[in-house]
């Protein structure tokens, strides 16, 4: 195992009011799961990651645009019906699965409901 594989991923969550919180994650968890497990407000993830609630919407920092698989068809459909209007960098955070050592910056929209 290389050194990088032993480093925990980190997620930097910025709330809509600008306050940032850094959370150490587990590789293989999604940005949504990491938020829910650590009590990060503003990410609900009601459907547990089955792409049927649109309550884990985030804006993914542009620098990570190529770090994850592109938006899938089902994710695309649900982003259209999120409570906060989607933007070019909108993602459902349940689809952002973290690799060892990965650092990700996301901004949480004003509302999920």
């Amino acid at each position: 195992m290389t050194k990088e594989n032993t480093i925990v991923p980190k997620v930097f969550y910025t709330q809509s009011d600008g306050i940032e919180r850094v959370v150490e994650a587990e590789a293989g968890d999604s940005v949504m799961q990491t938020a829910v497990r650590n009590g990060v407000p503003g990410i609900l993830g009601q459907c547990g990651g089955s792409l049927s609630c649109a309550t884990c919407h985030v804006f993914l920092d542009e620098r990570h645009a190529d770090d994850f698989p592109p938006v899938g068809e089902d994710e695309d459909d649900m982003l259209d019906v999120a409570a906060t209007d989607r933007e070019d960098n909108s993602r459902l955070s349940c689809q952002l699965v973290l690799a060892p050592g990965q650092e990700v910056h996301v901004t949480i929209p004003e509302t999920q409901l």
Binding site: G48, S50, A54, T55, M78, A82, A83
Partner: protein, 406 residues
């Protein structure tokens, strides 16, 4: 199996503070309890919040044996047959297909667009109550009228048909008080009516849910009437009584807690979102009415042996979430016995979680927020004028009367 004294489950109703303590002792003692239901036999009732979430996210727990009739649903009343044909008893991949189609039509965005009309209609209802004056019954005049209007609009039921639509709909949940033949006749009328409406919307689509479903395409498939009808039914079941009871319970809880009522009346819009979640978690307890333990959400069946939080759930066993305990689990809720309408994080499971979390959750939450906020804005001096009445005749055991004045 011996039970540690003070951790018996089920347990008979006791004052709410005692019930919360009792649930806390059970949670400290074990993650779940096997209990024999009046119908359908044994089921594991899961008390701990984390264990409950784990089960709700695990696809090895399914509902197929209930849908096919191979197993009787373990529940406190006979589970109505027609509900076994609905979305909540489907598993992936059929569930995934239907759920996505419906969720798009009842999405956070759609519900946000409905909010202004909910505010306007709530105020119409309040105008009516103020105009009539004296002692008003909040349930029919407000708590039930609001969700019926919202759901009828969402489905696309014309206002001229609302009265019969409501009458048939109330039969869907009847477990007593009506004969089987009466219930069957009402259900058949409702089904025939909805089928007719679906046909109309196939011809001439409008901006409503039935039109969206009638014209929905999932890759190359379209939905048949046999698929759409149960979706309409499940929305009626959840969207009428359950939403109304949450709203009535919220009002009663606030009227039973002077400090929280004053706090809410001072900032209804600011507190509506957190207050709604706290009502879902703890509203029933906050009304001061005795609370017992024993029963849960619609169960699942384990498709293989699964160990959750140290407890083996054997292949073929049924398992259900105990939302009262999960919402009062000290591991995730600080001061669980306290009614705090500003509680920032509220991990209750009243609307479930995961694949089968409440389909109408965005709508129910919005109606609860709007219903509470508008009422206390307009009538801050609202007070009780009698005792609430609950019906045991229908599956959801709704509050049917709440006399208020001001």
């Amino acid at each position: 199996m011996t039970t540690t004294p003070g951790t018996e489950y089920p347990f008979a109703p006791v004052p709410p503070a005692e019930a919360v303590e009792h649930l806390g002792r059970i949670i400290a003692d074990r993650p779940m309890t096997k209990m024999t239901m009046p119908y359908g036999g044994d089921v594991w009732l899961v008390h701990r919040n984390a264990a409950a979430r784990e089960i709700l996210s695990d696809r090895r727990f399914v509902r197929e044996p209930f849908r096919t009739g191979e197993r009787v649903v373990p529940f406190f009343v006979p589970f109505p047959d027609f509900l076994r044909g609905t979305l909540q008893f489907e598993d992936p991949p059929q569930h995934t297909k239907l759920r996505k189609l419906v969720q798009k039509a009842i999405s956070p965005k759609r519900v946000r667009e409905m909010r202004d009309s909910a505010v306007a209609f709530a105020n119409e209802l309040i105008d009516g109550m103020i105009g009539r004056g004296g002692v008003r019954d909040l349930v029919p005049e407000y708590s039930l009228a609001l969700p019926i209007e919202m759901l009828s609009n969402l489905l696309g039921v014309p206002s001229s048909d609302r009265e019969k639509f409501e009458r048939w709909s109330s039969s869907t949940l009847a477990v007593a008080g009506k004969t089987e033949a009466e219930v069957a006749a009402d259900m058949a009328e409702l089904a025939a009516y909805m089928t007719g409406l679906i046909a109309e919307r196939r011809e001439e689509p409008r901006d409503d849910l039935l039109s969206a479903l009638a014209h929905a395409r999932d890759r190359d498939e379209t939905l048949t009437d046999a698929e759409i009808l149960p979706i309409a039914f499940i929305l009626i079941v959840g969207g009428f009584d359950n939403t109304a009871t949450f709203l009535s319970t919220g009002v009663l809880a606030l009227l039973s807690n002077d400090e929280e009522r004053a706090r809410f009346a001072a900032d209804p819009d600011g507190l509506a979102a957190t207050a709604a979640e706290e009502v879902l978690r703890h509203g029933g307890f906050a009304t001061g009415r005795p609370a017992g333990g024993g029963g849960g959400l619609v169960p699942f069946v384990a498709t293989e042996d699964v160990v959750v939080d140290g407890q083996l759930i054997a292949k073929g066993e049924a398992v259900s979430i105990d939302p009262s305990a999960a919402g009062h689990d000290p591991a995730v809720v600080t001061e669980p016995a306290r009614f705090d309408i500003g509680r920032p994080d509220n991990p209750h499971l009243t609307l479930s979680h995961g694949l089968h979390h409440c389909l109408g959750a965005p709508l129910a939450r919005m109606e609860l927020q709007v219903g509470l906020a508008e009422l206390f804005k307009r009538v801050p001096g609202l007070r009780l004028a009698g005792e609430p009445v609950f019906s045991r005749d229908v599956l959801t055991q709704p509050m049917t009367s709440l006399p208020v004045t001001w």
